[in-house]
Each structure stands twice: as C-alpha cells, then as structure tokens.
C-alpha cells in the first residue's frame, strides 16, 4: 500500500501538536520526541503552554502547544511546522499561522461543531476559509474513532475522551514512519501503574496508525534523514533537568553535598522537582516559605560547607537581591538559577525572554559584582550549571545562571557523559598548615586570584565570624575605615574580573573574513547559528560568536569584536547585552536585532534583520 503514497525525504521536519491544555499535547509531543531521538534523529522541542492550568475548554486562552523538530542539523524547534495537529477549533485558530506553505494540518473534525467555533470566536461557519489556510487539511473524526475503538473497553466516556491524543499520535507516527514498538514502550512506562489506561491508549494509538494506512492516498509521508551521532549512551533531556543534573555532577566532582533552597515559580519549578527526587543521590532540596528564604537557606548551607543553590525566575531574583549581596560581601559560593520569563512583574510566566540580564548584573545595592553565565541550549544547561557551581566554589562568589523558559522546557537528545569527562572541582579549603601556623583571618586571600579560603564549620581551629558589615582587609573585623572600604570594593571586583582567566575563550564560527559578526548570548544560540548557516547557503559572508560567559566576559572578547566592521547583537529584550557590550567596548560598532514577544526568535527574523543591516552599506 505504501507505494501508492508519495514519500518526501527531508533533512528535518517540524511537527506541532496543539489542543486544550487538558488534551495531553505535551505528553504525546514528548513521546514523539523520545521515539525520534531513539532512532537517531536530532531533536529540539518547544513546549508552548498557557499560564492557566485549565482555561475553559475549547477557548483560545486554553490552547497548549508542543513543537518539535526532528532530523539532522537540528538546532531549533523550527520557525514553522510541516505538520500541525489541532485537536479543536481554538487550537487551529491559534496555530494555523505556524504551518509552512505546503504543510499538512490534521484536525479533529468532531471538535468543529457550531458551538466549538463560537467558543473559539470564529465569525463564519468555515474556519479553513476564515483563517485563509492554504495547507492541506486532513479532517479526521478523531473523537468518533476513539470512541469506536474503545466501545467495548468498559471505560466511562470521560476516560475514553482522554485517549484522543493517542489517536493523533498514532496517525503522526504513521506519517513519519516511527517504530510503534518503541512508542508502546514509552506508553507502558508512563502508565505502568494503570494497566487499563495503558491498554486503552495502546488500542487508540494503533487505531490512529491504521487510519493513516487507510487514507494513504490523500497525503504524503516523510522519510527523515538522520546523521550518525557521536557514539555513546543517550537520553532525552530538557534544560531544567539538565541544570539539576549539572549541579549534581558538580557536587560529585567537588565532594561537597548539594543543597537547594527554593520556592516554586514558573518556569523554574522543575529544577526543584528534579532535585527533590534526587534524595536518592543524597541531594537535600528544601522548599522554603518564600523566595527570600530560598536564597537565605542556601547562603546558610554555603556557610555550612555545602554546594548551595537557589532556583527561581525573574520576580524571585528581584526578591533574592539582598541575599545575593550578603553572599557577595561574605564571599561565599552560591549558585542562583534564573529561568527567565516575560516581565516586568508577573508578566508572562510561561513565556520566554532574556530581560533579566541587567537585573542579574546590577540588581543589588552597593558595588556588588557577581559572575553571570548563560547556557546556550537545553543540553548546555548541564555544562553551564556545572560551570556555575565550579566557578562559585573555586572563586568563592555568587554565580547567576541565566537560563530561560525556552531552553528550560525545551529538550534535545543528550549523550550521557562518562565519569571522567568533567574536571575535579577544587574549592580553596583553608589548609591545615595555615590553621596550625596560627593567626588566620577569614578574609585572608590568595594573591593570584584574590580568592579567600573556605573554612568548613566543624573544623577545629578555624572558627570565624562572617557578616554583612564591611570587614577589615587584614583582620576581618568590622571596619568603617574609608580607605579600607574602597580597597575591599576593588578587591571584590578584581576577584570577579580574574575569573576571565579561568573560562574558555570565545569561539569564532562562520566566515572569519566577513565584515559582520552576529552575536548573542544564552538560549538564542540555536536560532542564531541556524541563521548564519542559512545566510552562508545564500552566499552571504557572516561570522558568528556566542556568549555563555557574561561577567566576566571571555578574555579575547575585545580582540575578537574588534576584528569586525559591525557587530550585530540579537537578543530577546530591548538591547540589554548590546548596551553592556557597547559600554565596555565603545569603539565597536554595534547593531541590534531585538524581539520582546515572549516567544523565541524565528530564524527568519534574524536572517531578515541581518540582510537589512548588510544592505545599509
């Protein structure tokens, strides 16, 4: 039968699942992702969900989406999708705009009755025409067929309707030739404790797959190219889980127990969830009474000798400011994770933005420099969380890790590192010989990197007092001496500046002889890199570098930026990093590409922006 079907071979395809927030779109999206990664595809996902847990059924506000790109050279979840699944009229209305020209839209035609259209605020009775859809629309009676498949299951109507998402998944799996046994394995794990639900979902999944066979004549199927990945054991990981695991790796590599003090906040809560589970690795995750208590308990844990972390999003970072200042003056290691979301205030809790950069750099009273780093992708969250912890402990300073909703919730396939792939972390413990020599004071520091020693409470002969009041450079006693204060301010600042010698240099990608350098920081890496590749394919010359270390900047920053006539900074805010770079390097000509819509870049927005800047000359 398959030979009658048109087969398209593609490098990568993008699928978007959409429905009510209770329709299980995130679940089927995740399963599709895992199955694809399992057969060697690169994957990149973008869950796009509403802030309301359950908005009214069928309403525009309750639409939840999950977009995934699978194939080779996948760095983003894709600007537009090849296939859209819309479980109801509202989902179609919210998502039709994301479908590529020539793409396919699968709708559950049973959810397009008059009342459904009304709820989704259509003004005519023909939604396809009203939305100006040119893609091929597959009208599938998903609800009817799900009910038919489960007629004799004994399940009640409500439970039966909950299986609709698996009909859609079955159909999509047929379309993309995904191995059904692997789908069933994920399903079985998910519903291990509910065999009846597993049976029902498996049956509906198969029905959806069979349906694909039977309608084959009307639609193309896809064969997706995959590239041979580096050998190793892989798992699918999202940025928040990767962050949590990176911290655990840092705990193992430093020998310091891991402590998390946190308070739930979207979109960072999954870090708390994961670390709470990891009591099985000895992690202590404490849900404190508020954001301030989160950071303060972590500061207490740090003083006590743990690798101490607090996790939050923008509003929580604002509340933690005073606490971070305490860790600055006490010179204690502290990792602060900010999974950025749209602001100001409560803003757009579930949407992504890069608008906390200046808050992270400067949002404290007094001169209080901290180290700021930003992961570039979901899997890079592992590396950069490890780095944040390493720098915090080895340099005795707070480090703010600026993740964001896009990479925190997004996932990709990740090769599980071998035990020896990450370096040992060596905190500057107070040496026993120094204790024995007598006269040690808590702010005594190493001259090379200005780092003070860490005396772990419980150590005999090293009892000492820290505090938020300014201390004497030599004795560590309270001091209000004007010159001493200035010396301490510059010393703390110099300590952070010298971290530049302990981080990797910027890497230059693309055309080294180009006039234009595209750059950005943190979670926009995939889109920026893809934009550069696309422009090069069009014969344009463009160079690219990406910042994961924000403060201090890598040591070669000035030299590298200075090589180009123009530096274009693309970021999801109104220009915070561009301003930061311009302030540090006034002679560099900086241009900007900005977006503040709570959504990640589209690659096209970056290529268009760059072409426009190129054409100015």
């Amino acid at each position: 039968m398959l030979e009658e079907t048109k087969v398209k071979t593609l490098d990568k395809v993008v699928v978007r699942f959409s429905g009510d927030s209770g329709d299980g779109m995130q679940l089927v999206g995740n399963i599709f992702t895992n199955v694809s990664a399992g057969i060697g595809n690169e994957v990149s996902t973008f869950p796009d969900y509403p802030a309301e847990i359950r908005a009214p059924q069928g309403s525009l506000g309750g639409v939840s989406g999950f977009q995934v790109s699978v194939g080779k050279c996948v760095h983003t979840p894709g600007d537009q999708c090849d296939v859209l699944v819309a479980m109801n009229a509202a989902a179609l209305k919210q998502n039709a705009r994301y479908v590529k020209h020539g793409g396919v839209i699968i709708i559950d035609i049973d959810s397009f009755k008059e009342a459904d259209l009304k709820k989704a605020l259509y003004t005519t009775s023909d939604p396809i025409k009203e939305l100006g859809i040119t893609a091929q629309v597959l009208e599938v009676p998903i609800t009817t067929m799900t009910k038919a498949a489960l007629e004799s299951s004994g399940l009640d109507n409500k439970s039966i309707l909950k299986c609709r998402n698996f009909f859609a998944l079955g159909l999509v799996c047929w379309l993309f030739d995904r191995p059904m046994e692997s789908v069933l394995r994920f399903l079985k794990n998910k519903f291990a404790k509910k065999p009846a639900i597993y049976e029902a979902n498996a049956k509906v999944l198969q029905a959806g797959h069979d349906y694909g066979h039977n309608i084959h004549a009307g639609v193309s199927t896809y064969r997706i190219e995959s590239e041979s990945a580096r050998p190793g054991v892989y798992t699918d990981i999202n940025g928040n889980t990767a962050t949590a695991w990176g911290l655990i790796m840092a705990s193992e590599k430093s020998g310091r127990p891991l402590f998390l003090g946190s308070y739930p906040i979207t979109p960072a809560t999954d870090i708390l969830h994961e670390l709470a589970k990891r009591k099985d690795l000895g992690v202590k995750a404490v849900q404190m009474e508020d954001e301030i208590a989160g950071v303060c308990s972590a500061i207490g844990a740090s003083f006590a000798g743990n690798l101490a972390v607090t996790s939050t999003s923008g509003p929580g970072l604002a509340l933690k400011s005073e606490g971070i200042g305490l860790a600055v003056i006490a010179e204690l290691p502290l990792v602060v994770i900010d999974v950025q979301r749209g602001g100001p205030s409560t803003g757009l809790p579930t949407k992504t933005e890069q608008t906390d950069l200046l808050q992270a750099l400067y949002g404290r009273n007094g001169e209080s420099p901290v180290c700021v780093v930003a992961p570039a992708s979901p899997t890079d969250c592992f590396t950069m969380a490890f780095e944040a912890a390493r720098i915090a402990m080895e340099h005795m300073t707070p480090v703010i890790l600026l993740s964001d909703a896009f990479i925190g919730n997004g996932s990709s396939a990740w090769r599980i590192p071998e035990a020896d792939e990450y370096p040992e972390i060596k905190p500057p413990y107070l040496p026993q010989e120094r204790i024995d020599a007598g006269g040690w004071r808590p702010y005594e520091r190493r001259q090379d990197n200005k780092v003070r020693y860490w005396a772990i409470p419980g150590t005999e002969g090293a009892a000492h007092r820290l505090g938020g009041l300014e201390k004497d450079y030599n004795t560590g006693a309270i001091s209000t001496d004007p010159l001493n204060h200035e010396k301490m301010v510059y010393t703390r600042s110099e300590k952070i500046a010298r971290i530049a010698h302990d981080i990797p240099a910027l890497e230059l990608l693309g055309d080294a002889d180009a006039d234009i350098l595209l750059t950005g920081w943190g979670g926009t890496y995939g889109h920026l890199r893809t934009a550069v590749v696309e422009l090069q394919q069009q014969g344009k010359k463009v160079a690219f570098t990406h910042f994961r270390y924000i403060n201090p900047l890598p040591a070669n920053t000035a030299e590298l930026l200075g090589r180009f006539k123009k530096v274009v900074v693309a970021e999801l805010n109104t220009g915070q990093f561009a301003d930061y770079l311009q302030g540090k390097f006034p002679n560099v000509k900086i241009e900007r590409i900005n977006k503040v819509q709570g959504q990640p870049f589209l690659v096209k927005e970056i290529t268009d922006g760059l072409l426009q800047i190129m054409n100015q000359d």
Binding site: N34, A37, N189, S228, P231, G232, V233, Y234, T235, W245, I248, E252, P257, F259, G261, R278, K279, D280, L281, G282, K284, V286, M288, E289, I292, A293, C296, S297, A298, I299, G300, A301, S302, F303, A304, G305, N306, A308, G323, G325, L326, A330, R415, I416, P417, E418, A419, P457, G458, T459, E460, G461, A462, A463, H464, R465, G467, G468, L469, I478
Partner: protein, 337 residues
Amino acid sequence: MDTQQYTPANYKSDQPVRWCPGCGDHAILNSLHKAMAAVGVPPHKTAVISGIGCSSRLPYYMNTYGFHTIHGRAAAIATGFKVANPEMTVWQISGDGDGLAIGGNHFIHAVRRNIDINMLLLNNKIYGLTKGQYSPTSDRGFISKSSPYGTTEDPFIPAELVFGARGNFFARTIDVELGVSQEVLTAAALHKGTSVVELLQNCVIYNNGIHNFITDRENRADRTIHLEHGKKMLFGKELNRGLVQNGFLLKAVEIGKDGYTMDDVLVHDAHTPSNFLHQQLAMMDGHELPLAIGVIRDVAAPSYNEEVDRQVKEVRAKKGFDSLRSMILAGETWEVK
C-alpha cells in the same frame, strides 16, 4: 565524642563588646557563654547566626562559627545551615523587630518545620539600632519616634505565635534573672527541634524600664513565677502563692487562704503534648497572674533535619544509585554505536 571540658571563656571572642553600658544584652551574653559551657558542645561545633539589630551583633562576641546576616533572615539562614551540616549545634539570635516584623514569616515557618535550632528572641519592645521606633511587641498606645501619638495596633505576644505555629519548645527569661537564663538556655540546647527562648531585655537608651512592672525587685517575686517541670507552680517572696485550676482557666491563690491547700496547686508538666495549659501559662502577663519564666513547653517531636536525613538514608538504600551516571542509566536511554 569530645570529652574535653569547656569553660565560658572558651566561647568568648577577642572582640570588644560594643553594646551600651547597662544594656540587658551583656547579661544575656554571659548567660549564653555559661549555658554553652554547661552543655559542652565544642566551640568549633557551634554556629551562632543572627539577623540585624543591636542583639544581632552577638555572633561577633562568640568564639564559635558565626554569621551576622541581613535583616529578618536569620531563621532562614540558620535553617539552611542546619539541614546542610546537621553535626553543628545552631543558635539563632534575633530581636523583636528582626524576628517578628521583617522576619516574621521565617520565624513561624522555622517553628512549624521544627528545625533543630535554638532561637533566642531578645525582646526589648523597641527598635534600638534605628534609634527608637515601636516594634511589633510594643503595647497598644506606646509612644515612640514613629508613633508620636501612640500606636494604634496590638502587639504580638511571641509565645502565642510559637503555639500558633505548633511549636514544641518555649521558654522565657528576663535579662536580670541570670540563673533562670542559664537554665532555659541549657534546656533549649538539649531540646531536639526548634527551641524558642524569649529573653525580656532592657534597652537602657530608648526604652529604659519597659519591663519594670515585672522586674522591679520590690514586686518581682509576686509578678513572676519560675516554672520547672515536675514542680508545684508556686510564687511570691515566701513561695506561699500558687496557681490552681479554675474551670478551664488558671487562678492565683494564697496557700491556706479561702480553703486552698498545697494539694490544690498545679504541678508543671512541660512535656505534655497538649499545649492548652502551656498556652495559658505563657499568656500570663504579671497583672492578674504572674508572668511565667522558665521552660513552659518542652515536648519531643521529630525535627525537620533528622527527618530529611532519615529519608535520604531510606531512599538511597532502596534505590542504590552510586552516582549521577548510574541514576541516569537506570532511566530511558538508547545507545549509538
């Protein structure tokens, strides 16, 4: 186990004490040094953590691990410290502003969680370090720089908050009662879980004599009662007055008068789980009934940090992962060759 004996001097730092002459904090500091020596936890196994305010300077005067932190947050910082390093004995020092105003939320949650720390609440009913504003324990109508016409709000009674947060240890003392102070601080140290000790303390500069009604030598014996577990609730210069039950309430009587005998006088039971009588005892204010000092409630209950350690041990034994890698490999993975 450390068998070395310690003296109060072992807990004193070399820093000059900078409280005002005559401040009640001096006596409290001395009582604390003595209690620590009596309990015998070595200075390097002891941490003293404070917030902001006059009393919060105390860690600088201790030869232990110490942390003078930020306003209101000492309880949260002490909580993290204790969970992270449960081998250490942790003391938290706060004033009435630090602990009950800006730090009120952390105070009640630390008590509710029953984290094993000793919280000292130095209550002088005034903000001293900011030079004389009313505090959350100042009486209604209290005149201060920030309430020139008298406050128009009711104060917290610290004990009531502790019981509201389901606390298991509450004791009270007065700066001038050195013996009682040492006794309750020792009991607080020995109690597993959050031990709250309210220390009524005189601010000689901004609120001099605020506790005079109960601390005056003339009347102190009649206006206070020193409660001790297992002992009769007796007070008065001659110990001839006692507390008896009067319906659901308490009543102060004179032994031998109105038909009351020693047998009628209640025996203090600090260990009974019900906090009904403890609350009544703690709410006595020196007027109708004498203000209670001593250990009012001391009930054993699982502490937060012990429970965390127990869970970690149990889960680790059950799952048996020896590393992050082994945990990840036990989940969904695939191999690329």
